[in-house]
């Protein structure tokens, strides 16, 4: 049985540093190359020594595919390509190619300049790495080499996010990256056709959640923000520069306009303008509504949202601030958090998932005292709210995607083990599909059926179709294709035996048997033949039996009756060796009559 082997180096029963190795048909593919935000040590990058203990991994990897620009999916890319060593092709969509290097550079600065991290990749390495990137367009079929084909599908989630279909020979896999099955304020919903892969590798961040309607969540969010500024509080919303931030900005902008609110809203990212420019230029990747109206009004030109200055942190009065990064693990958002956390009229709203080890994760789990390096302890008095605004598919969405693409097996990654188990059960129950969720470093082997394409001569196919349609309709048995496979040079073709012999330059040797049975049946020979015809038809209802000029024939079997009107008749049964089963059966039938 041919196999597909999958080993997660990251995202196996875990969220963060997605990196999955896929082997099929002699090809090795790396799916995503992310980093873990919760760690500062070597655990932040996938363990590439799994691929080869030392030296570059180029000989062992045929291509790398990046699903989207989030750092937990591409953050380790420059480390992998420039420090571990990989010079092969890296595939991603155009927006991802545009935005990923900006986020990588931003993260590098935070790690190296603020945290003093050593042994990190440099700006130059990011540039060198991006030179290896080949940008792909949605639905375009890309041949990585003669045998390896990939194709991107729209995934929603963030600008440029894609799911990838990967095929080698007759084996295929779909890797979803992160995706979203419901459209939001700026992106459309993920979509895939019925590509029936052998395996679907799906993220499962929200495996157990069936989220309430989007509208409710938005209303809830706006209510909380509004209440907080009404009581003079400050609202901190930690976000990543690109993605959810744009959706929440559109939401607040329209609300401020409608409610005529005066409290300032700041977006504290140097990237904002640049980020919004990307959205303008890749407007074809946003949803229908934005695409339709972009000429008249650009959704990403905000009236109420102003750039933030660090000096505003201590300003009196209410305000709303969007600040990076989203999980409160470093940078400005953490700085503001430290300043505001002791005041109970303030609020922090975490609009996305926070990985373990981050401050975001800690306060979401109810921690009211946070200890920082240098023994600094911060008391959290401000209210902490969590709003699931990250655009991941929930359980319903994951089930929907399975229904769309009809995979033979499912694998869950990028989620928490307990939640995965729950969803696994559901998938098995509802679709009766094998479902896997390997841990990091654990290899999962999936057997796949093989279909080998061969050429077939058109006359052979046509003869079969003709024969099949001639069968009695009430007794249509399964269609059978029989022929001779001619293997010559590099070609293989299935054809009729005579055609094959001719092509091969040989002659058949036909063996024919004729046996005589004596039957006692008075009356004319024709009457006997008639009786035999009815008998044979009755016993062999699945075959097409013909009766002409007193002889009965089916396939190569021929039955003839001879004799005068006397009692005894000679019945000749004749057949070729290829119809031995049928011929001997009919002979047996006649023998039993004569006795």
């Amino acid at each position: 049985m041919p196999e597909i082997k999958i080993t997660p180096l990251g995202a196996g029963q875990d969220v963060g540093r997605s990196c999955i190795l896929l082997s099929m048909g002699g090809k090795n593919i790396m799916l995503d190359c992310g980093m873990h935000m919760g760690y500062n040590d070597e655990r932040r990058f996938p363990d590439f020594s799994f691929i080869c203990p030392e030296g570059p991994i180029t000989p062992y990897i045929d291509c790398v595919i990046i699903s989207h620009f989030h750092l937990d999916h591409c953050g380790a890319l420059p480390y992998m390509s420039e420090m571990v060593g990989y010079s092969g092709p890296i595939y991603m969509t155009h927006p991802t190619k545009a935005i990923a290097p900006i986020l990588l550079e931003d993260m590098r600065k935070v790690s190296v300049e603020r945290k003093g991290d050593q042994n990190f990749f440099t700006s130059q390495m990011i540039k060198e790495c991006m030179k290896k990137v080949i940008a792909v367009t949605l639905h375009q079929s890309v041949m990585v080499d003669n045998d390896l084909e990939i194709k991107a599908y729209y995934a929603g989630h963030v600008l440029g996010a894609a799911m990838f279909w990967i095929r080698v020979g007759s084996q295929s896999v779909v890797y979803t990256g992160d995706y979203n099955m419901t459209p939001d304020r700026h992106l459309g919903a993920a979509w895939i056709d019925k590509c029936r892969p052998d395996l679907l590798i799906s993220e499962s961040t929200y495996a157990t959640t069936i989220r309430d309607s989007k509208r409710c969540r938005e209303r809830d969010f706006l209510k909380k923000v509004h209440e907080c500024i009404d009581r003079g509080g400050k609202v901190l919303i930690p976000v990543f520069a690109l993605g959810r931030a744009q959706e929440l900005c559109i939401l607040l902008e329209t609300y401020w306009e409608r409610m005529n609110l005066k409290a300032p809203v700041y977006f504290a990212v140097g990237l904002t303008e640049k980020a919004n420019n990307y959205y303008k230029m890749f407007i074809t990747w946003t949803n229908q509504k934005i695409r339709k109206t972009f000429v008249q009004r650009n959704m990403f030109d905000f009236k109420h949202i102003k750039p933030f200055d660090r000096q505003y942190i201590d300003n009196p009065g209410p305000m709303v601030v969007f600040a990076t990064p989203g999980m409160l693990h470093a940078g400005l958002s953490l700085h503001i958090f430290k300043k505001w956390s002791s005041n109970e009229s303030n609020m922090v709203i975490l609009p996305g998932f926070c990985v373990q080890g981050t401050v975001g994760h800690k306060i979401l789990n109810g921690a009211r005292k946070i200890e920082f390096e240098g023994r600094q302890i911060i008391e959290v008095k401000m209210s902490v709210e969590y709003m699931s605004f990250s655009a991941h598919a929930d359980a319903k969405g994951i089930m929907q995607l399975i229904q769309y693409c009809e995979p033979r097996n499912v694998m869950l990654v990028h989620g928490e083990p307990a939640k995965m188990e729950f969803l696994k059960g559901k998938i098995k129950q509802e679709f009766n599909l094998e479902c896997f969720n390997p841990a990091n470093g654990e290899t999962c082997v999936i057997n796949t059926p093989v279909r080998i394409p061969i050429d077939v001569s058109l006359p052979l196919l046509k003869a079969e179709a003709k024969k099949f349609s001639a069968l009695p309709s009430e007794s249509k048995r399964q269609r059978v294709l029989h022929g001779v496979l001619l293997m010559k040079d590099n070609s293989t073709c299935l054809m009729d035996v005579d055609e094959a012999c001719k092509e091969a330059g040989i002659t058949r040797h036909v063996i024919r048997f004729t046996s005589t049975v004596h039957v006692n049946d008075p009356g004319p020979a024709m009457a006997t033949a008639h009786k035999l015809h009815l008998l044979i038809k009755d016993r062999l209802p699945m075959w097409s039996v013909t009766f002409t000029d007193g002889s009965i024939s089916l396939e190569s079997v021929l039955v003839k009756v001879e004799g005068d009107d006397e009692e005894q008749k000679s019945v000749f049964v004749s057949w070729t060796n290829q119809d031995e089963g049928l011929g001997s059966y009919i002979l047996g039938l006649l023998n039993s009559m004569s006795n």
Binding site: T137, S457, L461, V484, H509, R512, L540
Partner: protein, 646 residues
């Protein structure tokens, strides 16, 4: 396989290809040459046009034609909203068309004529830029004509075509001409388009695969590869090997086709686009410096993007950068905006700009700096305040029959310092200007056509190596404009069959399918035991259950057949029987009374005790016996031991 030619203009192609019981329309171009016979549509009453004298042919009584024809400078024009010559609808019922493939936005203007009110139910495939920009062209056309309503549609003149002067007398099928469609037809028709990406494999009813490949001609332009398991047909429409703003042409996908259909080659076979661009820059510079205005009748998309970019640089160099460029079209704003969001369809130079992020085209910047100003119409708000002379005006339509160009010719036509420059190759500039004559303004002809010229086309064919090449007949003879230039043809070559076609013809294409494809399940494949017959040739009989779904054939294991009489592993004997060996086997088995006699071309073995005859010839053996099955089985085994089989 058949090819129907429905358009008489190879640059506005429309074909039908039938293959494997699927009917495919290749492009849906609309020839607009007919509009040159009509008077221009002006939305401000034009004294000159209103006062043109009526014209009546000799021996035709006045009332029938009253008012339909007018004369100017020895040319006769129809005074009516323009009519168009849609693709031929007599050869094929459009309700039968399964799919339409659109190569580029200039080859889809007849779409509403084909898909609306005809019972058409198929799918249309086009790339995103083709759809978005094509929509702009269709909308502009409808708006330009609708904004100048005329009370009467002239129809009588069609009964007197033979009595009309040239070129009206030469009109192509005037009775089939139709008025333009309306906006709801446009919307309905375009809503049927399914957007596709380059190299996207489209499945057509399981029978065919269709793939669009970049053609380098304009934003989103494509050629099409149509293939079954064993045949490959390439349809090559507007293509360019020059480096301009679109993504370069993809040659690789088009190679080694069984049939290559090639159309939409250059309309300016003698001049080269770079040279023309140079002339244009000089003309613009000279005119502006002399205080004159430049009028460029054009489509609202395509080469104009390159002209904005190129001219702004040139005007800077020539010190006339204070003269503004005006871009006037009902869809000018949309066109500028769309061109800057379609980065994935641009050349790599332009594409790389969005990674910065910069806009791929500089016209955003030109607009910001007031070097380029765009308006929907000349009567749009703000135009009169912004208007300043001398200037360069880009506006439609290149036929000079409708759109704002009509007003500009009226405005500037009498001043010899002004200049009108023709850059679009679709219309003859002398015909385009005929209703306005006499004109004082200068006329320059700098048609820029980036599509393949004959040298490039012949080189491409050599590279692509098709078995059969199918081209419009006019490409096999030198162009009418240069009958002596015999190199301006598609070359005939013994390596391939060249089939010319013309309007209204149905061509049989030489494609005899001999093979199909079947997918064999692994279980069956494992049972295959190849028998080497000769060095390099092996045979193996193969039997399986055939499952056919969506035209895809699958062969699965036979095991499930319940009929015991069915032989699952039929094999075949071959070669001749060695009689001596067979006799040895008989005696080893205890049959010693075999009597051998020559018989015909072979021998007859008579087994007297067993009452059986075995007749052996070169290619067959016949065993005749009574109903003693034991004996027959013994003989059968011996025979099969003596023969080779597969």
């Amino acid at each position: 396989m058949k090819l129907y030619c429905l358009s008489n203009d190879p640059n506005k192609p429309c074909h039908i290809l039938t293959f494997k019981e699927i009917t495919i329309m290749l492009d849906c171009g609309l020839s607009m040459q007919s509009v040159l016979n009509f008077l221009p549509l002006s939305f401000v009453a034009s004294n000159k046009l209103l006062n043109l004298p009526f014209w009546t042919p000799q021996n035709v009584s006045e009332p029938e034609l009253e008012g339909e024809l007018r004369e100017n400078c020895d040319r006769v024009f129809i005074d009516s909203p323009p009519e168009f010559c849609p693709p031929l609808d007599k050869l094929i019922d459009f309700a039968q068309v399964d799919i339409i493939l659109i190569s580029n936005y200039l080859c889809m203007m007849a779409l509403p004529f084909i898909t609306e009110g005809t019972g058409f139910q198929g799918r249309i495939y086009a790339t995103e830029p083709t759809l978005q920009i094509g929509r702009l062209l269709l909308e502009e056309l409808v708006l330009n004509i609708e904004q100048c309503p005329k009370a009467n549609f002239a129809n009588q003149w069609k009964n007197f075509v033979h009595k009309l002067p040239y070129p009206l007398s030469d009109s192509f099928k005037p009775k089939s001409w139709k008025r333009i469609y309306n906006m709801s037809n446009v919307n309905a028709s375009l809503s049927r388009i399914q957007m596709v990406g380059y190299n996207e494999k489209l499945d057509v009813y399981g029978a065919l695969q269709v793939i669009p490949a970049s053609s380098g001609y304009c934003l989103g332009s494509s050629n099409w590869v149509i293939s079954s398991d064993h045949e490959k047909i390439v349809y090559l429409s507007g293509s360019s090997t020059l480096t301009t703003h679109p993504k370069p042409m993809d040659h690789h996908a088009l190679k080694n086709a069984d049939v290559l259909i090639m159309t939409d080659l250059t309309q300016t076979p003698i001049s080269n686009p770079d040279g023309m661009l140079g002339v244009l820059c000089v003309v613009v510079g000279l005119t502006l410096r002399g205080g004159g205005n430049v009028l460029i009748p054009c489509y609202p998309t395509g080469v104009v993007y390159d002209l904005f970019e190129c001219l702004s640089v040139k005007m800077q160099e020539l010190g006339v950068s204070n003269c503004p460029m005006f871009f006037i079209s009902p869809v000018a704003d949309m066109s500028l905006a769309y061109s800057n969001i379609l980065a994935e369809w641009l050349s790599s130079v332009k594409q790389n700009k969005v990674y910065v992020p910069d806009e791929p085209f500089p016209h955003g910047l030109l607009v910001k700096n007031s070097k380029l100003k765009h308006f929907k119409h000349i009567y749009s708000e703000g135009f009169s305040t912004d208007f300043q002379e001398p200037c360069v005006v880009f506006c439609g339509h290149p036929s000079c029959r409708f759109g704002d160009v009509v007003q500009f010719i009226e405005l500037w036509g009498n001043n010899p310092r002004n200049c009108i420059v023709f850059t679009e190759p679709d219309f003859d500039y002398i015909d385009a200007l005929a209703p306005y004559q006499p004109l004082q303004m200068k006329v320059a002809h700098c048609a820029i056509d980036t599509s393949l010229n004959f040298t490039q086309a012949n080189k491409l064919i050599k590279d692509l190596k098709p078995s059969t090449l199918v081209v419009p007949e006019c490409y096999t003879v030198p162009p009418v404009s240069a009958p002596n230039l015999t190199e301006l043809v598609i070359e005939n070559n013994p390596d391939r069959t060249l089939i010319p076609y013309k309007w209204g013809e149905v061509i049989n294409l030489p494609l005899k399918r001999k093979q199909a494809q079947v997918f064999v399940e692994r279980e069956i494949a494992q049972k295959i035991v190849p028998v080497e017959i000769k060095p390099g040739i092996s045979l193996s009989s193969l039997t399986g259950t055939l499952k056919v779904k969506d035209n895809v054939h699958n062969m699965e294991s036979l095991e499930k057949i319940k009929d015991p009489n069915y032989q699952a592993n039929i094999q075949y004997e071959w070669g001749s029987l060695n009689v001596t060996e067979f006799l040895q086997k008989l005696s080893q088995d205890g049959i010693t009374d075999a009597k051998v006699e020559p018989s015909g071309s072979g021998v007859m073995i008579h087994l007297q005790d067993e009452d059986a005859l075995i007749q052996i010839e070169e290619n067959c053996t016949h065993v005749l016996c009574n109903s003693d099955e034991k004996l027959r089985m013994r003989l059968r085994n011996m025979l099969m031991h003596c023969l080779k089989k597969f």
